[in-house]
Symmetry: C2
Subunit: 473 residues, 2 copies
């Protein structure tokens, strides 16, 4: 690692990803290659979230990558919102077929099927999810995991008989995301509603979770939308109630993407490389033999015993027996990889019937009696997981500044802080904040409202609610 996180965050970020082999730039402009370690993090995120999604009674399905232009255009706001980033398939010569887009999101193609499948109240709720690739032809500079022309995500799409049931689904999905991000990725989030200006194209309202990155920018970690009867009216998704009335369904959609990996890199990493929370770490522990020629055999055997015991206990554990590298080289390499625990085994450890565990996050070392190996390592991993979240929570608290005046607001944003402030709720004022702060936007109106002031920090009009403001990725 050459770049320093605190000094040059925007060089540090790609460097840590490339050198720890999480990902690489693809040979096609604006695209990413997920290497095996980066993809393994995604698989762990998927496994965790997929279980939560299935527990909500949502089933997985798969809809086409291709969306006919007429479908994409059916909901005007939606189309307007996405059109600049839509990629289209070249039409073959002489083919009279309609132009087709590569999905920038799948509401339209999914609703065209829901209109066909939903007839009666017995068909509701219909709750489907898909894990897939998404295409948005970004013009701006690529940022690995955060902004690429293709990325991976899940998108849930549900249809309900009533508004109440749909709104509950919107919140349940967001709660699942909060659980995932805070408890698996160890990143604290602020949950709330988006302002009209920041609402998903075509939604009645959007809820979201926002996290704060070390450079003072907010990163939207997940969104959950209530779409009302808006799309159903355009697509004709109607059902017959029990007393034979024809009604429109209420729909929701919600998603998180591979940008979550980028957030975990940014929040936890340091100048030595990645720091991965144990729950999403492809390897949770690495065993390293410390040996001389005469102890080699004994030490290797003990290492293998340790690795195998931990593996059997369900801990993702590797060992490195490569004799062409020194232990010191290996320490640095696996620190770069962000493996939460390093387990050293040397002749002295064997004598004491122990191993030495070193935490990646704090560097703290401790002797672990062999007799309690599995339980103690599991405990240590839990501590690392918990402490990473706590540290990130503290950092979030330290980097949120309450602003009561226009001057305070502008100063805080330019000082790379996230601002908590009272706001009047006017779109005009919201636009002016963006101009005055050179890009700061209202990230959300948090569900947990607290009273800061009677007056809007930006314009002095009567305050409507408290909001979080930051520049965003």
């Amino acid at each position: 690692m050459k770049a320093r996180k605190a000094e040059n965050f925007h060089e540090w970020y790609p460097e840590v990803i490339l050198s720890s082999k999480l990902a690489d730039y693809a040979p096609v402009h604006g695209c990413i290659v997920f290497r095996e370690r980066g993809y393994a993090i995604w698989e762990l995120i998927q496994a965790s979230l997929d279980a939560k999604i299935k527990a909500m009674g949502v089933k997985n399905a798969y809809f086409p990558l291709f969306i006919p232009e007429s479908l994409l255009k059916k909901e005007a706001d939606h189309f307007k919102g996405f059109i600049p980033e839509v990629a289209w398939v070249e039409r073959k010569e002489g083919e009279g077929e309609e132009r087709v887009a590569l999905r920038p999101t799948s509401e339209t193609v999914i609703y065209s099927m829901y209109a066909k499948w939903i007839r009666s109240h017995r068909d509701l709720p219909l709750k489907l999810n898909q894990w897939c690739n998404i295409v948005r032809w970004e013009i701006k500079q690529t940022r690995l995991f955060l902004r690429t022309r293709e990325f991976l995500w899940q998108e849930g799409h549900t249809a309900h008989a009533t508004q109440e049931e749909a709104e509950k689904q919107v919140r349940d999905a967001l709660d699942a995301y909060i659980d995932l991000v805070e408890n698996a990725l160890a990143i604290p989030v602020i949950a709330g509603k988006k302002t009209r200006l920041e609402t998903f194209a075509g939604a009645v309202y959007t809820t979201a979770i926002e996290a704060l990155m070390p450079d003072g920018r907010a990163l939207q970690m997940g969104t959950s939308h209530y779409l009302g009867e808006h799309f159903p009216k355009m697509f004709g998704i109607k059902y017959m109630t029990e007393d034979e009335q024809e009604k429109f369904v209420h729909t929701t959609s919600w998603g998180v993407s591979t940008r979550l990996i980028g957030a975990a890199v940014m929040v936890h990493g340091d100048d030595k490389g990645l720091v991965l929370p144990p729950k999403i770490a492809p390897e949770q522990a690495v065993v390293i033999p410390i040996y001389k020629d005469d102890s080699r055999e004994k030490v290797f055997a003990k290492c293998e015993e340790v690795r195998s015991r931990l593996e059997k206990a369900g801990i993702r554990c590797i060992a490195d027996y490569d004799e062409s590298h020194t232990p010191g080289w290996k320490f640095a390499e696996y620190e770069l990889w962000g493996i939460p625990l390093r387990i050293e085994v040397g002749p002295k450890d064997i004598e004491k019937r122990q191993v030495t565990a070193a935490r990646r996050d704090t560097g703290g070392k401790s002797g672990i009696p062999e007799a309690h190996l599995e339980a103690k390592i599991a405990e240590l991993l839990e501590s690392v997981q918990k402490d990473l979240l706590e540290r990130a929570r503290k950092s979030l608290e330290e980097n949120v500044v309450v602003a009561k005046t226009h001057g305070e607001l502008v100063k805080a944003i330019s000082g790379r802080k996230m601002v908590k402030a009272a706001h009047c709720g006017s779109e005009e004022c919201e636009q002016k904040i963006k101009e005055a702060t050179e890009g700061g936007t209202i990230r959300c109106i948090p569900f947990r409202q607290e009273k800061i002031s009677d007056r809007c920090a930006a314009c002095g009009s009567p305050a409507k609610h408290t909001v979080y403001i930051a520049k965003a990725y």
Copy 2:
């Protein structure tokens, strides 16, 4: 079900898929929607195969959907093989960028990265796999699961120091496919090598597994290719040996796709609908209450007890308590769905402390004592799985005909049989077979060679080997 499988197979096939809700036609031409039950089968196939892939030391990764034209063109045979089906992204106005294709397969984009990542013998073997969507702009009529413009698959791509190691990987991958298809999908296959004419574009040789469908057509179920140093030379994938010589790597690629689902539908289904092998059935058993008003409560409670016990035992089990449908309606519905076992619970069963299990494949019914519920149901599921494979194996044997003369060969193919015959090995003769049989091709040169004749059945020249010939999907 209106169509009869034996009488009108090509109407029966889409009808059974649509009516059992496995899949649907998408709103864009030539595409499929995988509905939740169809996708659940794919998830079960994925889980089974992914474990086998990881056991071979292969890791998952993800490479871009987009391939620059220059990369796709780099290997001339490969490009020539795929060009007619390649879909391209429309270029944005004023954008000076290179034209990009949607991946018809990923060798080229992956090799461009391997050239960057592989430097030394220490980087080998490099074994990656990806689960992804694939685009081939088919002009022919769509067949659900079998031929659509987008489908899902996995593609393994490995690079090795030696030919020997690479060839072992080719065979290991094919063995994993044989295990999957025979033991999970209950479809017997013929494994062998492709003739030059049928080899993957750019490969040194292709191995494949072939299955026989009820209409006498072969379906290629999976392929595993040895690509030699062919692509590595084009892409410059070189490594430094231990004694510091520069050498090219040897590569392999191998894949199976969602067409496997179509094969399982075709091979096992009947006039009542799907018949799913238990290992890939989203629901392995359905519990149906048989009750009158006075026994309703008691029967429902017992059904729920049965369902819950089976679920705890790891059996995928649902129960249907819908009172607006008769048991008879439910029997028919779940037969259509292909659920391997139906479990009936009525007052008489409760009295006898048993449940009644009915097999979807044979219709056979048996009483299962409550005391041995989990074990007996698990046994029954195993029997169904085994019997389906046996039945399919018998059908395969009955539908393979040995041909010793040109006349026999042509007659057998036109009679919807698969032909086993001696062949001279000449491409010219192979082409003539295709013409004479109106599309019959050499499906493979089986690994298990048996001597049929000294003379080629088609041309009478000296025989080189025994082959299987059929029309194919």
